[in-house]
Subunit: 306 residues, 2 copies
C-alpha cells in the first residue's frame, strides 16, 4: 500500500491508485513515471498558497469536530454578507443538520418551518445565481469543454463556470460546494439554511441557487450523516438530527483556536501542474492516462499552513 | 415540502427541488410545467422495465441491510464469471468492508494481504478495461459530448462509454458503479476485492480497472460508512470494519427472499423521456433549465416490481 498524504484534497479525487488484492503477477506495461498531485504539492513554494481569509471563513462545530467553509464573496456578496450577519448574531448555534439525501446534499439550519427561530439579518436576499464576471477575480481557464457551461476554470481557489457572451460567471455545484437553500421564489434563500454537495456534482442546479462557497475541511463529518427517511432526505424525528454547537466567523475566534489552513492559488503555475498531474497520471499503476479532466474532478489542494 | 417518491434513482440526482427556508415572497417568474422524472416513471408501461437477471444479481448482507448489485457480463464476462465463482464458494461470507475514502470509494473483501483467505476461483483474471463494443448490447447514444470519451450513452441499464474508431466500449466510473480492485499488474483484479464509487465520478479511472456492474439498491448503506484513517481510507483496526454476513447470487436464494426489483430499459422511449426531464427541468422551482446532462447525472430508475 502506498504512503498516505497529509494534504486535504477535497474534490472527490484520490491522489493514489487503487488497492492491491494480494495476488502476484508478472510486471505489466508501465506508463513513464510522472509527478503526482502529491509530488506537485510537495514541490510547491510558499507563494503558491494563500491563507484563508478570516472574514470569509466559517467554523461549524459538530459533535464529531469542526467543518471549515470558505465564502466566495465576489460571487455572492449579498448572500455572504447575510450569512456573516446570521453567524454574528449566533443564529446557527443550537440548530442542526436537518437533511441528508444520498448522492446529493447534506443541509443544515432551522428545521422549524412553523415557528422559525427569529433573527435580525435579512429575511430575503436577492438572487445571486450568476454575477457579472468582471470583478470576480482572476479567471484561469480550464481547457476542457464542459457539458453545462461555455467556459469553466478557477478563481481564487474556487471552481467557476462562465458565459463570456453574457459576461456572467457562477460557482458550479461541485462536491463540497456550499449553496443557499431557497423556496420557489428566487429571493427566498437568505442563508438560514445551507447545504453542501456530497455526491456526483448536480450541475443542473447551477444558476438556480446562490452558491456561496465551499467546504475546505471536514467534509467527511458531513458525508457520513445517516440519510434521512422523509422526502428529500429530511429527518423525520428531531433526535435524528445532528446538533450544531456553533457557527463562528474565523475573524471572531481567538487566533489560537483558529484552523490554520491555506489553499493553493488557482492562478499559480503549481495549480496548473496539479491539474496536469490529475489529467494525465503516470507511473506503474495507471495504464491509460485520461488526457482530460472534468471541472469537478480538479483537486484544489488545501493544507495546514507551513 | 413536496411528496416523496418511492422510486430508487441511484445516480446522484434529486427528483425534486431544494427545500424551502420558510420565508414568504411574491410568486417568481416560472418555467412552464413539465413532466418530472417521477412523472415519467409513473406514466411508464410495464414493457419499459426489465427484471434484474438472477444469474447476475448479487445480494451483499450487511448488519444494516441488503446491498443489491447487478453485474454487466457483456462488459466484463471473465470478471463476472470469477465473481460468481467466488460468491458460490462463499468467499465473501464473514469478510468485511475494508475501506472508505471520502468522496471516492468504499471497498470490501479480504483485508488480509499476508495470509489471504483461500479460494478455488481464479487468482488472476485478464483485464477487461474495455471490450469490443460489438456484442455488448443495444447502445443508446446520449447526445451530449463527454469530457472523457468520444461517445457516451447506455446499454441494458448501465452507463457506457465508447470509442467508435477503436470499436471499444467500457463501463464508466459513475456513482454506484462497481469496480474490481487490482494491484499494479493489469490481471491482478480477480473480484476478491470490489469497490463502489461514492463521490463525484472519478472518470480518470476509466479503462484502468475492470468495471463489472453497479449497485441498484442499498447505496446509502455503503456511503455512510465511517471514513478510514489509514492511507487511501483503509481502516486501521479490524474492529472498524463492517462485517459482511454473506454475498449470494439471487439465483441461489429462495424466491421469497429475493429483492423484487426492476430497472428501466435504457433502450425505451420512457428512458429518453427520463433523460429529457432531467436535462430540462420545468415548474415553479427551476429558473434555468440546464439544457444538457452529464452521463453520470442521468438517472437510471430502479423500482420494486409492479
Amino acid at each position: 500500500m502506498k504512503a498516505a498524504t497529509t494534504i486535504h484534497v477535497l474534490i472527490g479525487t484520490a491522489l493514489l491508485g487503487m488497492f492491491a488484492n494480494g495476488a502476484c503477477a508478472a510486471p505489466a506495461k508501465e506508463l513513464p513515471p510522472k509527478p503526482s498531485v502529491a509530488d506537485v504539492v510537495k514541490a510547491s513554494k510558499p507563494g503558491d498558497w494563500r491563507a484563508l481569509d478570516p472574514e470569509n471563513t466559517l467554523y461549524m462545530e459538530l459533535p464529531t469536530g469542526r467543518v471549515v467553509m470558505e465564502l466566495a464573496p465576489s460571487f455572492a456578496p449579498k448572500a455572504a454578507a447575510n450569512i456573516r450577519a446570521l453567524v454574528r448574531e449566533g443564529y446557527f448555534d443550537g440548530l442542526s443538520v436537518i437533511r441528508a439525501q444520498d448522492g446529493f446534499v447534506v443541509q443544515w439550519g432551522d428545521p422549524d418551518e412553523v415557528t422559525p427561530r427569529p433573527f435580525k439579518a435579512a429575511r430575503t436576499v436577492d438572487a445571486e445565481f450568476s454575477v457579472p464576471a468582471k470583478g470576480t477575480g482572476q479567471f484561469t481557464l480550464l481547457k476542457e469543454r464542459d457539458v453545462y457551461a461555455p467556459q469553466v476554470g478557477h478563481v481564487n481557489g474556487f471552481p467557476v463556470a462562465r458565459d463570456p457572451k453574457a459576461g456572467q460567471a457562477w460557482l458550479p455545484h461541485c462536491y463540497a460546494m456550499v449553496g443557499v437553500a431557497r423556496d420557489e421564489a428566487s429571493n427566498t434563500g437568505n442563508g438560514s439554511q445551507l447545504y453542501t454537495v456530497i455526491g456526483h456534482a448536480p450541475r443542473h442546479l447551477d444558476r438556480n441557487i446562490t452558491v456561496v462557497g465551499r467546504i475546505v475541511s471536514g467534509m467527511p463529518l458531513l458525508t457520513v450523516m445517516p440519510r434521512g427517511s422523509a422526502a428529500l432526505g429530511f429527518y423525520e424525528k428531531a433526535e435524528q438530527r445532528t446538533p450544531i454547537a456553533s457557527v463562528r466567523l474565523a475573524a471572531d475566534v481567538p487566533a489560537p483556536e483558529r484552523s490554520k489552513l491555506e489553499v493553493m492559488r488557482t492562478e499559480s503555475a503549481a495549480f496548473q501542474a496539479v491539474i496536469d498531474a490529475q489529467r494525465n497520471r503516470g507511473g506503474p499503476w495507471t495504464k491509460v492516462a485520461a488526457g482530460a479532466i472534468d471541472l469537478c474532478n480538479v483537486p484544489i489542494p488545501v493544507r495546514e499552513q507551513q
